[in-house]
């Protein structure tokens, strides 16, 4: 694990635990090292401990055990207002009794900055989020997206090196959310700030982050860049949580040459890549992404295992087709195919055979 001397480390959690009631741990043995300039997302279902981690970093919660360091210095005993961390809240928390400009000026005022300097920084920050014309308005006169930009500008105006964002886009509609996702990442990279971003929306996590920490049950299940997370989930929780996933249950028969032979519960055999199974006889869950499933035999590799499937439902979704199959007793097996001119549209009741590359099929913990 990283120690204080790690020159690359900007934010560090070391063996951090948190309990509210003295009986159960909300955060269990958290270790995390973040370099400067990274955009890291904490992703997980509600109650997984991600927001608690963020609050501990901001200083609104104290760690029950362990050490949190910022720039190599332990901040456990530093009150929130001295940490110099910018924060964007879920409900924006714009002060309703102040104008937009006053809101932005607030962190500068408490830092005893001169008036002209304040005005200049406020103007620059508002221009940065394209809200320059709204300085004199009140938060209640702005739309949700505009408030979001102001909240962002306010968290950045005093030039913190670390910015925390707690589900900042949760209240916006889909289109606006996608636009803001892009703007936030763009801004973060342009300014070179370090961002810890909390969300329960996996698309948001995948599109925005340098690295994603998937939280469950008070622990980080996997910490990896988005592509690795999606393509190489390390356990079945991550596989299930990130993206759409087909799961088949079975038992490992043998492991050989980096391939595991798995006997599914209905007796069929398939080849998989062993991820966290190690010996024959182990129960496993096999994970295959819907877009990696192939039913056009011509495209299948020679010698690949195939399974029989029955088409249950065909859904036309514009850019893709989504087909529900019954495979090895699983009625919820989904495949996705691109809407190409030569693509076959399957019909319910049709009997087909499906297959995939062994490396796309991962044998994970049961």
């Amino acid at each position: 694990m990283a120690d204080a001397s790690n020159s690359d480390a900007f934010v560090e959690f070391e063996r951090v635990q948190k309990s509210y009631d003295g009986e159960t741990l909300v955060v269990k043995d958290l270790n995390l090292v973040m370099p400067k300039g990274e955009f890291l997302t904490m992703l997980g279902p509600s109650g997984s401990g991600k927001t608690t981690c963020l609050m501990m970093l901001a200083g609104f919660e104290t760690a029950t055990h362990g050490d949190i360091r910022l720039g190599g210095v332990s901040i456990n005993n530093i009150p929130p207002h001295k940490r110099g961390i910018g924060m964007v809240f879920q409900n924006y928390a714009l002060f309703p009794h102040m104008t937009i400009a006053e809101n932005l000026s607030f962190p500068l005022e408490v830092r005893k900055m001169g008036k002209s300097e304040r005005e200049e920084k406020v103007k620059r920050a508002l221009d940065m989020v394209e809200m320059g014309a709204f300085g004199g308005r009140r938060p209640s006169q702005l739309s949700g997206g505009q408030q979001q930009r102001v909240a962002l500008a306010r968290a950045l105006v005093f030039e913190p090196e670390l910015v925390l964002m707690d589900e900042p886009l949760g209240a916006l509609d889909k289109q606006l959310r996608e636009k803001m996702q892009f703007e936030i990442t763009d801004l973060a990279h342009r300014l070179g700030i370090t961002v810890v971003y909390v969300t329960h929306d996996q698309t948001e996590a995948l599109t925005m982050s340098d690295r994603v920490a998937v939280f469950n049950d008070g622990r980080i299940q996997q910490l990896a860049p988005p592509d690795l997370l999606y393509e190489e989930p390390e356990n079945s929780f991550v596989a299930q949580f990130i993206g759409e996933n087909n799961t088949l249950e079975g038992t490992v028969k043998e492991i050989k040459d980096g391939l595991a032979l798995v006997q599914l519960d209905d007796g069929e055999l398939i080849d998989c890549k062993p991820v966290n199974v190690s010996q024959p006889g182990e129960r496993t869950r096999v994970s295959i992404r819907p877009e990696r499933v192939e039913y056009n035999k011509e495209r299948l590799q020679e010698g690949a295992h195939t399974l029989k499937a029955e088409v249950l439902e065909f859904i036309y979704m514009g850019d893709i087709f989504r087909t529900r199959l019954r495979v090895a007793g699983n009625d919820e097996f989904i495949i996705k195919t691109r809407n190409a001119p030569d693509q076959v549209r399957l019909k319910p009741g049709q009997q087909i055979e499906i297959g995939w590359l062994p490396e796309d099929c991962r044998a994970l913990d049961a």
């Binding site: 200083g59 409900n91 928390a93 002060f95 607030f106 408490v110 830092r111 005093f158």
Partner: protein
Amino acid sequence: MSDTTQSGPVLAADGTPLKRSLARALRMQKLRALMLIAPLLLFILLTFILPIADMLFRSVENRIVSDTLPKTVVALQEWDANSGEAPGEDVYAALAADLIVAVEAKTHTRLGTRLNYEMTGISSLFRKSGRKVKRWDLAEDAPFKEKFIDIDKDWADPEVWRTIQTYSPKYTNGYFLNSIDMQKGADGAEARPENQQIYITLFQRTMFMSLVITASCIVLAYPIAWILANLPARSANLLMILVLLPFWTSLLVRTSAWKVMLQQQGVINDVLVWLGLVADDARLVMINNQFGTIVAMTHILLPFMILPMYSVMQTINPSYLRAAKSLGATNWTAFWRVYFPQSVPGIGAGSILVFILAIGYYITPEIVGGTKGVFISNRIAYHISSSLNWGLAAALGAILLVVVLLLYWAYDKIVGIDNVKLG
């Protein structure tokens, strides 16, 4: 509907003009809505609007003089009050004629009471005269001037006649003048003698004390409301019951309890003496003065401050404080710059409630106020129930009403009434 100009009115399906059938449909709706609020409207009208209108009317109404002495009032019009001489025989004859009727109807003593508010001694003058006049005969006993002066020499006093003349119109501003320590003198309004001036002092004191009470309510209620708003629901409910507990006890009991607490041989003084903080022969005077009134009334009115504050504070999201701290504000700055301004509407609502309630209180000041802690309402109550000078009581009440409305208006101008929230 722009088509009524040339082609005539648009017709509904049954041939009636559309406008008319629309109006009829709307009228039905309005009537039905009116029926729903009718009980409330009637209740407010009967218990609120009418009494206030009646009070405003009473404060200027003065028909009793011209009703009781119709002939005298007419005869007296010619008399010059500044001549220094009593009026002539015609006025006395008119008075005799009026009094004979009035004695029969037993209204002369009532008039005496009324005029006695303006000039001491008229009450007994009328009562005494009534007994004699009863036996007079208009035709045989004339002339009357000497006879009246025989009954009481006050009938020769021009001041008596001036009072009757001054108050002969059906409406008078006399009560209002009295309410601001003035009176109708020989040359119009003039200040009352200094040893009778009291109402301006009392109005000022009422305002001042009510402000002090409101301020101390704010200071005490704020932390309580804050704790209430930030406690978990279960403990908050318990605390809320404690806050509301005083409402379940009679006002008199609470006020009397303060008497037991604050008097010189009372609990607080006993404790202070026992602790040695105060000498036994120098016990603190904490009641029957302004201090006692402020303490007791602050206690009684405190819930009216806590409740609006609490409901406003409940709506302030705790993330504002967090946001302020994350932006670098200390606890105090975060409170003062961010939390406090948002709680101001609650303070405003509570202050208006407490101030207006305080201004009208009289039981508590009467019991614990001594001489320096009484309010204008105590005088109003006195004139309603003891002196029966309802006209003066009405005028004082009307002034109080106007003062409250003025303050409300000023509050609206300065703070803005939209900035008042009950939650």
